[in-house]
């Protein structure tokens, strides 16, 4: 199997999704930087996280520069606020020309806006619905 290239990944927002992603990705050997406004959120990083922590406001360009966003192969905008995620994604794509950007979107009505700018998205509610539909289908098969 071809050996995978190590990437430079910036994760904005160190909540549950951000911290778990950081652990998985750094465990795979990527160089991962986690950025959050609240230092206490870094406590949720799992032991397998071997990357860098930066405390700061991701809506400030200087903070993103400190995290070397322009060198990032992938940016994950995973804060708990759609507006922040949109702004970070847009800046990553348009200003710093980051090749891959994935944003977490809470409100499905915002999805169109993200997709217009070619930003890949993860929407927890839609994922839950997909899972529910799958489970429902298997229940129906059992009942038939």
């Amino acid at each position: 199997m071809k050996k995978r290239k190590s990437l430079y990944i910036l994760i904005v927002g160190c909540g549950r999704l951000g911290s778990l992603s950081a652990g998985i990705l750094s465990n795979q050997g990527h160089s991962v930087v986690v950025l959050d406004t609240d230092e206490r959120n870094f406590e949720s990083l799992p032991p397998e996280f071997t990357g860098f922590r930066i405390m700061g406001d991701s809506t400030e360009i200087e903070v993103l520069k400190e995290a070397k966003i322009s060198k990032a192969d992938l940016v994950l905008a995973f804060t708990d606020d759609d507006n922040t995620n949109y702004m970070v994604s847009q800046v990553a794509k348009e200003v710093f020309k980051v090749k891959h950007v994935i944003a977490r979107v809470y409100d499905p009505s915002n999805l169109k806006l993200f997709h217009q700018f070619n930003i890949k998205t993860i929407t927890p509610m839609l994922l839950a619905l997909e899972s529910l539909v799958g489970t429902f289908e298997s229940i129906m098969e059992e009942e038939e």
Partner: protein, 206 residues
């Protein structure tokens, strides 16, 4: 395959740098502080070193000073989260090749490995390598390597020979003659320059 020394008090940083060096097909030893590193430098020959600055015990700057005092030639790249002007200046005064700030990307470390390898290329081996580049018309890449050779081996006839050879292949015979002559001036017994110079001059006169 080259052997590097990675010095950092944080284990995960040591592991990351070691991993990226490994991805380039090279090996590395690790040390958690300056004392450990210094001991290892006395025991083994390393191609290059990556070191942090702030470490408990012997810090990076003291380590660089100690290496300098012992007159070891060890191309070094500093990797640090602290990059104030004074620190960076002090490190460069101690002869480091590059200063990488944390967080770093895999590509930054890999580019630094390439820089270290460029510095430590044996002049005869690298001259063959650069001749190959020139013959393949990779001029800008060849020029970079020749500039490095000029800075590392200013008294050798080889960098002038390579520069002249590149100019000759590019069709600039006047520049080529000038540098072949400079090469011969540095070492009158350096046959490759003498031979090409006499061919060129015969060609120009003819």
């Amino acid at each position: 395959m080259a052997l590097f020394l990675v010095v950092d008090d944080e284990q995960h940083i040591r592991n990351l740098i070691k991993q990226y060096i490994g991805e380039m097909g090279h090996e590395s030893d690790v040390a958690a502080n300056g004392e450990e590193a210094l001991k290892m430098i006395f025991e083994k020959k390393y191609t290059g070193m990556f070191t942090d600055v702030r470490m408990p015990g012997l810090d990076g700057i003291t380590l660089l000073n100690a290496i300098r005092e012992e007159q070891f030639k060890l191309p070094t790249v500093v990797v640090s989260a602290y990059a104030n002007v004074e620190l960076v200046t002090e490190a460069f005064k101690l002869g480091i090749l590059d200063f990488i700030t944390k967080p770093f990307s895999p590509n930054e470390i890999k580019a630094a490995v390439t820089e270290i390898l460029k510095q430590t290329l044996d002049i005869k081996e690298s001259s063959q390598y650069i001749r190959g580049m020139i013959e393949q018309k990779a001029f800008s890449q060849a020029r970079d390597y020749i500039c490095k050779l000029f800075s590392v081996y200013p008294d050798s006839p080889i960098p002038h020979f390579l520069y002249a050879y590149m100019k000759e292949i590019m069709g600039n015979k006047d520049e080529a003659v000038k540098h072949y002559k400079a090469s011969v001036a540095l070492d009158g017994g350096y046959d490759p320059s003498k031979n090409r110079l006499s061919n060129l001059e015969a060609g120009i006169e003819g």
